[in-house]
């Protein structure tokens, strides 16, 4: 039973990757490798997803039932575990996205005024 405080701490550390995963899945089910590749490509190779972090994050999101997973077949006919966004996940994504936008803006303000 994580406390409120813990949730917050975890979100500080891991929230970034989580929201990126959710965002990627918004375009349809994808397997782990695909998610990693997609984040890397859409961030124009700025964000390199550590695979050691990806799977625990997927695991965590799955536990929270924000995403669901099942085994399927990839485009090139390989067996892979596909993740898709659940209803809860979609809702959380909206929440998280706006939160991140606000945070980013706020940080921008802060950095801006500091420099001034």
């Amino acid at each position: 039973m994580p406390t409120q405080a813990e949730k917050e701490r975890l979100s500080l550390l891991q929230g970034t990757l989580d929201v990126l995963i959710l965002r990627t899945l918004l375009f349809g089910p994808q397997h782990g490798q695909g998610i990693a590749r997609s984040i890397q490509e859409t961030s124009q190779d700025e964000l390199l997803v550590e695979h050691g972090a990806l799977y625990p994050a997927l695991q965590r999101l799955e536990t929270k039932a924000w995403i669901a997973a099942e085994w399927g077949t990839s485009d090139n006919n390989r067996k892979a575990r596909f993740y898709r966004l659940t209803k809860t996940g979609r809702r959380e994504l909206i929440k998280e996205t706006s939160r991140w936008r606000r945070l980013a803006a706020a940080i921008g303000h802060v950095l801006g005024t500091e420099e001034a």
Partner: protein, 873 residues
């Protein structure tokens, strides 16, 4: 959750898929199959690490990290040696006390007696108006043996003191006269030779004896050639047929077993009379072995049926209304069971307090370790991992406490043995066997979880933002920790209160008992016991002459003021009651209670300082041929002659030779506590020794000097009359009084000691929480003082805080005590369970303790330089 759990294989599969997909993509970009796979693997990073992370989240590799946690815990504990030592010792006391008491419970209640199928050995009693556990009469016993089919064997025995003579010095040994199937019931074969058997012990045949191992070693040097030889017991030659193994100790303390002369053991006072047909004499114990497959309940039902039949046949004479059937174990342990359970409860409370105290120290440290924890958290240690780290520290501490606790229990086991009827267990009392150690381990682990989890949750559950904010403010940190610690201290005070109230109730009972008038003056009186040999003094006249001679010699010893003989010393449990008839009285339905029957020499009342209230004491003229007279105690006078003068009344006290002889009451004496200080005096009748010369006599000798110093001279006075006459239990009467209280004294001392340990721990707890809170609020206090608060105000604030905790603890403790002390009910004397004085006293003691233990930190706070404390940050 309905989602099935993923297993590790499934996850490994996913990673393989990931790498394959990545390789496929790279190959699409033109790499060779091998290069693509290698690159894919490299891109994935450490596959094993990813799998491990998965494992860890599933806690499958829980133990893998335990070693690391342990090393870390040991490092932390080593860095704080004072804390570690204090916590380990606190736990050692708690765990040690629990282990010691549990080892007794293991011996007495859990472990079977060391006899084959001991659970089938039963003690059989009559259950009637007189007692739930009354002895069977000989005829009833024989009826049972004939009619009861649930028993494989049914045996009777009577504990008897044997005079072992014909050796270099006479010795009195504890022995038993048994029916030959006694050993068949116990199921234990002889270590050497044979036991008694029904076939070989034909009534009236040559008599044999079985020796206990300890007696064989002590008196006969463990020599096997003793078999077949005759030894002299009570002046009668008995052939040694066997030696029992060392662990065989039944009846407890018994060292020799001799077959009964008749179908039942001899009646002690009239051994020459075959009592087998008697239905009104109850003087021996009965044990039985259940047939295999028969339960105790079935056997009891059958015994009750037989009892009912006997009652119909023999009516009022048949005292046996129903039967009582106890396992031998329950029979042995009897009243000790509730005492043991109460003690276990007490030590459990003590351990809880110890845990609270350790948790308290851990909390204090946890608060100062917040930074460390925050860093570890930031480095990615999960909450579970941090909790586990704390638990490992707790377990490590607990293990230290547990090991030390076993040492404590080992040291405590010898003094604690006195709680049990030790002789029955022959050296196995308080063994630290596997079950006891398992209990210790359980106590240790549950304590560790208890005191480890508390700070773990508190320390890892902190609010990061709050910590940051507090760090900025530099004060007020750990409000939450303080609250948790306050709760712990209240709990400690409450638990200590329960123990103190229990101890207080026992203490007050004890002092009530000490204030009970014994009915005699124990100072300057030496007591000793003699069992006159039946072979040497077969008749009444001979015994009466011997006792008169002995008393004359004792009187002649310098420093002796008066010597007298009595059939049973005061404060001696056990009964020798007699049925009574009072001339002119119609007994109520159910009959009058039989008074205690005591045989006394003329000087008895004077020697023991028993007041003659009315009439006269016995004189030398109350001989065998004089007019029969008796003296009664006040309880008897009150019961039979509440409105009349007891002097001159006529009574018969039956069953002892001159059954229907009317005796005149010539005196009334003060009530003597015959059965124990906590037993109200029963009616008693005294008969002149010359009229009924018992073979078992106690002597009381009033001396002008220290009684113990006179002992050798008095013993030699006995030997000067008869050098074959062993003397035993030579001790001052004051020791007799002390001994009658010793089980109570031991229980009270133990619970008292536990209670004071608890009080000490609670004091430490209060001190700790106050000191901590003072340290935390140094700035606040500084500001207040800078604003004009007086030292007295500071002192009052700090002490007041401790007081609030103490009062809350006292209230909770009192409430718990009201619920818990009923388990003490059987051990109290003369006071109520809700004794106001005890509750008030304990409350005051705890509050005073709280004040004293908070004074030092309060004083320190009040003396602090306000400027210095403001400058800290």
């Amino acid at each position: 959750m309905s989602r099935p759990k993923r297993n590790a294989d499934d996850f490994a599969e996913e990673i393989r898929a990931h790498i394959a997909l990545e390789a496929a993509r790279l190959r699409g970009e033109g790499l060779s199959q091998a290069d693509a796979e290698l690159a894919a693997r490299r891109a994935f990073g450490n596959r094993t690490a990813a799998e491990e992370t998965f494992h860890e989240s599933r806690r499958w590799l829980w133990w893998d990290a335990a070693g690391k946690d342990l090393a870390y815990a040991l490092r932390t504990l080593r860095r704080n040696p004072v804390f570690t030592a204090a916590a380990a010792l606190t736990l050692a006391l708690g765990i040690g006390a629990n282990t010691a008491i549990f080892s007794l419970i293991d011996t007495a209640l859990l472990r079977p007696l060391p006899y084959p199928h001991a659970e089938r050995i039963m003690a059989l009693y009559a259950r009637n108006a007189r007692s739930d556990c009354d002895a069977l009469s000989p005829a009833t016993f024989l009826d049972y043996r004939r009619q009861d089919s649930s028993f494989e064997h049914l045996a009777a025995y009577r504990e008897t003191a044997f005079n072992l003579t014909g050796q270099d010095r006479p010795e009195r040994i504890d022995g038993a006269t048994v029916t030959p199937d006694f050993f068949a019931v116990m199921g234990v074969p002889a270590e050497l030779g044979r036991t008694l058997t029904v076939e070989q012990e034909a009534p009236g045949g040559a008599r044999s004896v079985v020796l206990g191992y300890s007696l064989w070693q002590r008196r006969f040097g463990g020599n096997a050639e003793i078999l077949g030889r005759a030894i002299e017991i009570d002046g009668e030659p008995l052939t040694v047929v066997g030696v029992m193994p060392p662990y065989f100790r039944y009846p407890p303390a018994c060292e020799a077993w001799r077959p009964a002369r008749y179908a039942v053991p001899e009646q002690p006072l009239r051994p020459e009379v075959n009592q087998s047909d008697s239905r009104d004499s109850h003087y021996f114990s009965t044990i039985a072995r259940l047939k295999a497959g028969t339960t105790r309940a079935e056997a009891l039902a059958q015994a009750d049926t037989i009892a009912a039949r006997l009652r119909r046949l023999y009516g009022e004479d048949e005292a046996m209304a129903r039967a009582t059937l106890l396992t031998l174990q329950d029979d042995l342990i009897g009243e000790t069971r509730p005492a043991l359970l109460v003690l276990l409860g007490a030590v459990a409370l003590l351990l809880l307090i110890a845990c609270a105290n350790v948790a308290n120290i851990l909390l204090a440290r946890g608060a100062s370790r917040q930074k460390e924890i925050a860093i570890r958290g930031a480095l990615g240690a999960g909450r579970a991992r941090l909790v586990r780290q704390f638990l490992t520290e707790g377990l490590t501490l607990g293990a230290m406490g547990g090991v030390l606790g076993v040492a404590v229990a080992y040291l405590a086991r010898v003094p604690l043995r006195a709680l049990l009827p030790v002789d029955a267990y022959a050296g196995t009392v308080g063994q630290l066997n596997a079950r006891v150690l398992a209990f210790t381990a359980l106590a240790t682990v549950s304590s560790a979880v208890l005191f480890g989890l508390f700070p773990a949750l508190q320390a890892t559950g902190f609010d990061l933002n709050a910590v940051l904010k507090e760090a900025a403010r530099g004060s007020g940190a750990g409000v939450r920790a303080r609250r948790a610690r306050s709760v712990l201290v209240v709990a400690e005070v409450a638990l200590a209160g329960v123990l103190l109230i229990g101890a207080g109730l026992l203490l007050r009972s004890f002092s009530r008992l000490l204030a009970v008038p014994e009915g005699f003056e124990a100072e300057h009186v030496l007591s000793l016991q003699l069992t006159l040999s039946r072979a040497r003094y077969p008749d009444d006249a001979g015994r009466a002459r011997l006792v008169r001679q002995l008393l004359e010699r004792m009187d002649a010893v310098p420093g002796v003021a008066a010597a007298a003989a009595i059939s049973r010393l005061p404060l001696n449990p056990g009964n020798s009651t007699r049925g009574i008839d009072v001339k002119g009285r119609v007994a109520p339905p159910g009959g009058d209670p039989g008074p205690d029957y005591l045989v006394a020499s003329p000087g008895y009342f004077r020697a023991l300082g028993i007041r003659v209230v009315k009439g006269r004491a016995f004189t030398e003229r109350d001989g065998a041929d004089a007019a029969p007279v008796v003296i009664v105690n006040q309880a008897m006078a009150r019961y039979f002659w509440p409105q009349q003068d007891p002097i001159g009344q006529w009574v018969t006290v039956g069953a002892c030779g001159k059954e229907n002889e009317w005796c005149q009451v010539v005196g009334v004496v003060d009530d003597v506590r015959q059965h124990g200080l906590d037993q109200a005096p029963r009616p008693a009748v005294y008969v002149p020794y010359a009229r009924d010369p018992w073979p078992f006599m106690a002597f009381v000798v009033r001396t002008r000097t220290e009684p113990a110093a006179a002992a050798p001279a008095i013993e030699s006075a006995v030997y000067s009359v008869d050098k074959e006459q062993p003397v035993f239990n030579v001790r001052p009467m004051q020791d007799v009084v002390a001994q009658s209280l010793s089980p109570r004294r031991l229980r009270m001392t133990l619970i008292g000691a536990f209670a004071f340990l608890a009080l000490g721990l609670a004091a430490v707890g209060i001190y700790g929480v106050t000191a901590y809170s003072v340290a935390q609020r140094r700035q606040e206090i500084g500001i207040r003082m800078a604003l004009g608060a007086k030292r007295g105000d500071v002192l009052r604030t700090v002490v007041g805080e401790a007081l609030r905790l103490a009062v809350a603890g006292v209230a909770a403790g009192a409430a718990m005590s009201l619920a818990l002390t009923r388990f003490l009910a059987g051990m109290l004397y003369g006071i109520q369970l809700t004794d106001g004085a005890t509750y008030a006293g304990v409350g005051i003691l705890l509050v005073a303790t709280a004040v004293v233990s908070s004074l030092i930190p309060a004083w320190r706070a009040a003396r602090a330089d306000p400027l210095a404390s403001l400058r800290v940050q």
